[in-house]
C-alpha cells in the first residue's frame, strides 16, 4: 500500500505491506534507528515518537495509519543544535546506556508542550509509560526539569546529578 508521511520535516512516499509496524518502517525503511524497540508489547515506551504532535508507541501502530500524517523522531530534535531536552539529559546524566532515552525525550517533549511548568509528580506521572532499566529515574526527572526551565526562558538550576 502506498503511504505519504512527513518525517522530521521531510516528505517520504513508500509502498509497504499493511502489517508493517510504524517502528519497523521508521527504523528499516527510513534508516532512522534512534527510535528503539525495547519490549515489542506496548509497555516500555522505547519506541515513542510524535504522530501529529502526540506521543505514541510506534510498535503498536501500523505504518499505514500514519498515512498523510507528520512524524517526529529523536533525529529531528537537534535540528537547531541540541534541543533543551537533549541538553538536559546531557547536563544531568539522564542516561546510562541510553536505550530508553529517545523515547523518554519524545514523550517529555509532548509533556512540556501540554504543560510547560510541570511539578515533579506531574513529570513522574507523565513518563509512567517509559521504562528505564539504568537510571532510577531521578536524573531523568531532573533532565526534564532542566529543559522545562530552559524552554520557559529561565536559567536551569544547577543540580548535582545523582549516581545510583
Amino acid at each position: 500500500m502506498k503511504i505519504n508521511v512527513t518525517v522530521n520535516g521531510t516528505a517520504h512516499e513508500a509502498d509497504i505491506e499493511p502489517r508493517t509496524l510504524l517502528v519497523h518502517f521508521i527504523r528499516e525503511n527510513l534508516n532512522l534507528t534512534g527510535t528503539h524497540i525495547g519490549c515489542d508489547t506496548s509497555h516500555c515506551g522505547a519506541c515513542t515518537i510524535l504522530l501529529d504532535g502526540q506521543s505514541v508507541k510506534s510498535c503498536t501502530i501500523l505504518a499505514v495509519q500514519a498515512n498523510d500524517k507528520t512524524i517526529q523522531t529523536i533525529e529531528g530534535m537537534a535540528a537547531n543544535g541540541l534541543h533543551p531536552l537533549q541538553e538536559g539529559f546531557h547536563e544531568n546524566h539522564g542516561l546510562h546506556c541510553g536505550y530508553c532515552t529517545p523515547g523518554m525525550i519524545m514523550r517529555a517533549s509532548e509533556l512540556l508542550a501540554n504543560n510547560p511548568n510541570p511539578t515533579e509528580d506531574e513529570i513522574r506521572w507523565g513518563i509512567s509509560g517509559n521504562l528505564c532499566r539504568c537510571t532510577g529515574y531521578n536524573n531523568i526527572v531532573k533532565s526534564i526539569q532542566y529543559a522545562s526551565a530552559k524552554m520557559r526562558g529561565e536559567t536551569p538550576a544547577s543540580t548535582e546529578p545523582q549516581f545510583v
Binding site: M1, E17, P18, R19, T20, L21, H24, D40, T41, S42, H43, G45, T48, Q54, S55, V56, K57, T60, I61, L62, V64, Q65, N67, R107, E110, L111, G126, S128, G129, N130
Partner: protein
C-alpha cells in the same frame, strides 16, 4: 512480532465502513485505537483478514449534552475523556478511570468505544458504564439501535454487537441532583490491568440512598454489576453497617480466578474493601 498479512481499508464515511463490514463478513475487524487489537494480532491471538480503520470518519469523537443525555462518540480517546470539562463537571468518575488506564501514550490512542467493544472484563470502562447505566449505540445497515449496557457484555470477549455493526456512540444520563461517582482499581504497578476495581455512582435523597450503580472490574469472566449490593442499599441510609454488608454481598457475587495478581480469596476481599471505599468516595462528592 509482526501480525499475519491482512488487507487494510480506511473509509471516510460510516456508510462505507458498514458496506465494507457487510462485504467482508466475519473476516473483517474494526480498528479504532488499536491498542487491544494490534497487540493481539502481533501475538497471533487474532488474525483478521481485513482491518477497517474508522479513524478517518469524522464526527465519531464528540462529547456533547443533548437534553438529559451526555453523548460520547465511540472514537473519543482516553486523553479527551481525561480532559473534558463537560465530564469533569458532571462525572468525576471519568477522571478517576482514565488516569488509571495504561499510560499517556496508550491514552493518546485508546478509545472508549474500543475499550467497550473489546469486551474484556479486565478493562476499566465496562464497570464504569455499568455503574452509570449507559446505553451503547450500534449502527448497522438498517440504521442505529440502542443497546442497554446490561445486555451488552455477553461472554468472554463477546458483546451484543453484530458483525456488521459499528459501535458509534455511548449515552449516559446527565446526573440527577445529589449524585456522586468514583472509581478505583488496585493495580500492581502504574498502567497494569486491575487486580480488582470498583465503580460507584450514587444519588442521595437526604441521608437515604435513592439510587446506586456498582460495577466491578476483573473479578468475573464478564464485566458485572453488584446487583444484590445495589438492591440492598437502595432506600437505606449509608451507615457503616449497611455499606459493609453491600461490600460483603459484592464479594460473594463476583467470581474471580486466582492468577499472578492474587488468589481468588484475596480478590474477593479487595472487592469488598473497594466497594466500601468507593461508596465513601462517591458520597463525599455528592452535589
Amino acid at each position: 512480532m509482526i501480525a499475519q498479512s491482512f488487507n487494510y481499508e480506511a473509509p471516510h464515511t460510516l456508510t462505507e465502513a458498514i458496506h465494507l463490514l457487510q462485504h467482508y463478513g466475519d473476516d473483517a475487524k474494526i480498528l479504532s485505537g488499536g491498542h487491544s487489537l494490534i497487540p493481539m494480532m502481533k501475538l497471533r491471538f487474532a488474525s483478521p483478514a481485513v482491518l477497517i480503520d474508522i479513524n478517518n470518519i469524522p464526527g465519531l469523537s464528540d462529547i456533547i449534552i443533548d437534553g438529559d443525555t451526555i453523548k460520547i462518540g465511540a472514537l473519543t480517546r482516553e486523553v479527551q475523556l481525561e480532559h473534558s470539562d463537560l465530564l469533569k463537571e458532571h462525572y468525576p468518575i471519568f477522571a478517576d478511570v482514565t488516569k488509571q488506564i495504561a499510560d499517556p501514550q496508550v491514552r493518546n490512542r485508546g478509545t472508549l468505544g474500543g475499550n467497550l467493544a473489546h469486551g474484556d472484563a479486565a478493562n476499566d470502562h465496562p464497570a464504569v458504564m455499568l455503574a452509570l447505566g449507559a446505553s451503547v449505540i450500534a449502527t448497522g445497515p438498517d440504521g442505529s439501535r440502542s443497546i442497554d449496557i446490561n445486555d451488552f457484555f455477553q461472554g468472554f470477549y463477546t458483546t451484543a454487537l453484530e458483525q456488521n455493526e459499528v459501535l458509534t456512540e455511548i449515552y449516559i444520563p446527565v446526573p440527577p441532583d445529589h449524585t456522586g461517582s468514583a472509581y478505583h482499581k488496585l493495580e500492581r504497578k502504574v498502567g497494569d490491568y486491575a487486580t480488582a476495581g470498583v465503580a460507584v455512582v450514587l444519588t442521595m435523597d437526604g441521608d437515604i440512598c435513592k439510587n446506586i450503580g456498582i460495577g466491578l472490574t476483573n473479578v468475573n469472566a464478564v464485566p458485572m454489576r453488584a446487583l444484590r449490593s445495589e438492591e440492598f442499599l437502595k432506600g437505606k441510609p449509608l451507615t457503616d453497617q449497611n455499606v459493609k454488608e453491600a461490600g460483603k454481598l459484592a464479594s460473594e457475587d463476583c467470581a474471580p480466578s486466582s492468577d499472578l495478581r492474587g488468589s481468588e480469596a484475596y480478590k474477593r476481599d479487595m472487592g469488598a474493601v473497594l466497594v466500601r471505599r468507593m461508596i465513601a468516595s462517591a458520597l463525599s462528592r455528592v452535589k
